[in-house]
């Protein structure tokens, strides 16, 4: 399979597409294609826990690649959320309906959807137990439960506060993203002090907290209230982004735009009534008042995964419960018939929808190869991508891998560290379409 070794080839293909003038969606397409033509016959029972970006894409791919398999999706959420759109809702350029659809609409024919959460995963007994107590035995399990937003990890914070007291958080869903825009917009009319930051630990789309600070700065400028305002970004460690070259670039841009940066500041408490945020720093706790604050909660694996034997038992990801999988194959290290795809995988980086589209073909190939009695050489290289919006109308197309290398889809054409119109146009017109095509296994 090409993903194992085909990076260069893939990029060439994508460039060729752009050359034809057809490729607006191409950056969002990396690694997508139709599954191998010949179907493998099997009676295997495959359970996919979680029907978000990763779970639905897996179901589509497996349904196309296998004949006779009993594929079951388990997810208690009837709504599907196109989460990369949250930032656009939070910026006021798209309504909440832009990101909402129904999970059922993407479930491929022949796949069963059980509309319940997985309550328990028992890899010793090869069984998933649903919230109502239904037992689902499996031969293969794909865990795609995403991650949990732990707002309670910040003292005084609650999802219900989003939109009140100058508090925003685009992470918590479509309505929360809209409420964030309204709070931010009211703030932008007057100006004042705006606080941003990110939590320690792994998080999905680590670019989103940075983007939102850029967006707010832009809106303040457009409304003529920038001069009387102060924007401060709080980094949880000593850098702005995990990839050094990107971090430096953002530092330069923040400097140009007058966005202040405080390193090693972790948001630990909010007092909505007084509008005071408390940050833990190496020098002790620091208080800071706000007119607007964008809260990004700590994230971790969902309880059903955390409470199972599947998480890492030591190291960086043990405490937050991410699955102990091989970073190239995404196969569980201790339970070879279990895979993790998407945000719940205990691998460095890779917590974006763009990563999902590279991971899904790899896991599909390994699973299908197992069933067909062959070996798969497919490997995921950590590809992660994020159109880092720097203002409404411009973005940087940031793409990188496990080794902090930039892996631009269009080398020499779309400069990864330049603020350009074209990545913004892609984000606005093509990314949702490529995402949905990915869910359907068509791209």
């Amino acid at each position: 399979m090409e993903d194992a070794d085909g990076h260069g080839r893939v990029r060439l293909d994508r460039r060729a597409v752009l050359g034809l003038g057809l490729g607006l969606g191409a950056a969002g397409l990396a690694g997508w294609g139709r599954p191998a033509a010949a179907q493998v016959r099997t009676q295997a029972r495959i359970v996919i826990a979680g029907a978000g970006a990763a779970g639905l894409s897996m179901a589509s791919r497996l349904a196309a690649g296998l004949e006779g398999a009993a594929i079951t999706l388990v997810d208690g959420r009837a709504e599907h959320h196109y989460q990369p759109g949250y930032t656009l809702v939070g910026a006021g350029v798209r309504p909440p309906s832009y990101v909402l659809s129904r999970t059922r609409d993407y479930v491929p024919r022949g796949v069963t959807l059980i509309e319940e959460a997985a309550a328990e995963i028992d890899p010793e007994a090869n069984t998933v137990v649903t919230a109502s107590g239904q037992r689902l035995p499996y031969d293969y399990l794909v865990v795609a439960t995403g991650l949990e937003l732990n707002y309670a990890g910040i003292e005084g914070m609650d999802v219900g506060l989003i939109g009140t007291n100058g508090i925003g958080s685009v992470y918590a869903g479509a309505q929360a993203a809209r409420a964030t825009y309204e709070a931010m917009s009211a703030f932008a009319d007057r100006g004042g002090v705006a606080l941003f930051g990110r939590p320690p630990g792994e998080m999905k789309c680590a670019g989103a907290p940075l983007k939102y600070a850029f967006i707010v700065e832009d809106i303040l400028t457009r409304r003529g209230t920038r001069a009387g305002s102060e924007l401060i970004y709080h980094a949880h460690n000593t850098v702005l982004f995990g990839v050094p070259i990107v971090s430096e670039r953002v530092r330069m841009l923040y400097d140009q735009r007058g966005i202040g940066v405080r390193y090693e500041h972790v948001l630990k408490a909010v007092d909505p009534g007084r509008r005071i945020a408390t940050y833990a720093t190496p020098q002790g706790d620091v208080e800071q008042g706000w007119d607007f604050i964008h809260v990004v909660p700590p994230m971790r694996a969902v309880p059903a995964v955390r409470n199972s034997p599947l998480p890492w038992r030591e190291g960086n990801w043990a405490a937050d419960g991410y699955l102990e999988v091989d970073r190239a194959t995404l196969r569980h290290v201790r339970y070879p018939n279990v895979f993790a795809v998407g945000d719940t995988a205990g691998v460095p980086k890779g917590k974006t929808a763009a990563s999902v589209k590279w991971q899904v073909p790899v896991v599909t190939d390994h699973l299908v190869a197992d069933l067909a009695g062959r070996q798969s050489g497919a490997a995921y290289d950590g590809y992660t991508s994020c159109p880092l919006i720097t203002r409404i109308g411009r973005a940087m197309l940031i793409e990188f891998d496990y080794n902090d290398n930039l892996v631009p889809s269009f080398p020499g054409l779309i400069a990864p560290l330049e603020e350009l119109w074209i990545p913004w146009v892609m984000k606005e017109t093509a990314l949702k379409a490529t995402y949905v095509a990915m869910l359907r296994g068509r791209a």
Partner: protein, 127 residues
């Protein structure tokens, strides 16, 4: 598996445009067919072509304005050479499409005028 096949592009454009995709393709085909028909019937009329090209300039502008409107952006967002290329590409598409449309329409209008029992003869060269 990682290639961008025509099928993949079709899937993405289908998700992007929905039913507008066949409508747009039909419109493009219609304009092209009309253009070719008028061209075959009348040959290349120089004045008509120049007139259509001039009118097509507005088509290019309309394409750009449309693009900026649907993407919540504006001319000030053009940031680098590749953006200028995209800008030119969109403009050329609008201009080329507009030229063909106006040329075809002018040809059809000339034909209709020619068919009508005219009070005075239509000059052969009229666009």
């Amino acid at each position: 598996m990682s290639e961008i096949t025509p099928g993949v592009l079709w899937a993405v454009f289908w998700e992007m445009l929905g039913l507008w995709l066949p409508v747009l393709i039909a419109a493009a085909v219609l304009v092209t067919v009309l253009f070719v028909l008028v061209l075959r019937r009348d040959g290349l009329r120089f004045r008509r072509l120049v007139g259509s090209q001039v009118a097509g300039l507005a088509g290019g502008l309309a394409a750009l304005v449309f693009m900026w409107a649907v993407t919540n952006s504006s001319p000030r967002d053009v940031g680098g050479p590749v953006d200028v290329l995209l800008l030119l590409g969109i403009y050329l598409l609008g201009w080329g499409g507009g030229t063909m449309l106006f040329y075809a329409l002018a040809g059809l209008a000339a034909r209709r005028r020619a068919r009508q029992p005219a009070a005075r003869p239509v000059p052969r060269q009229a666009a």
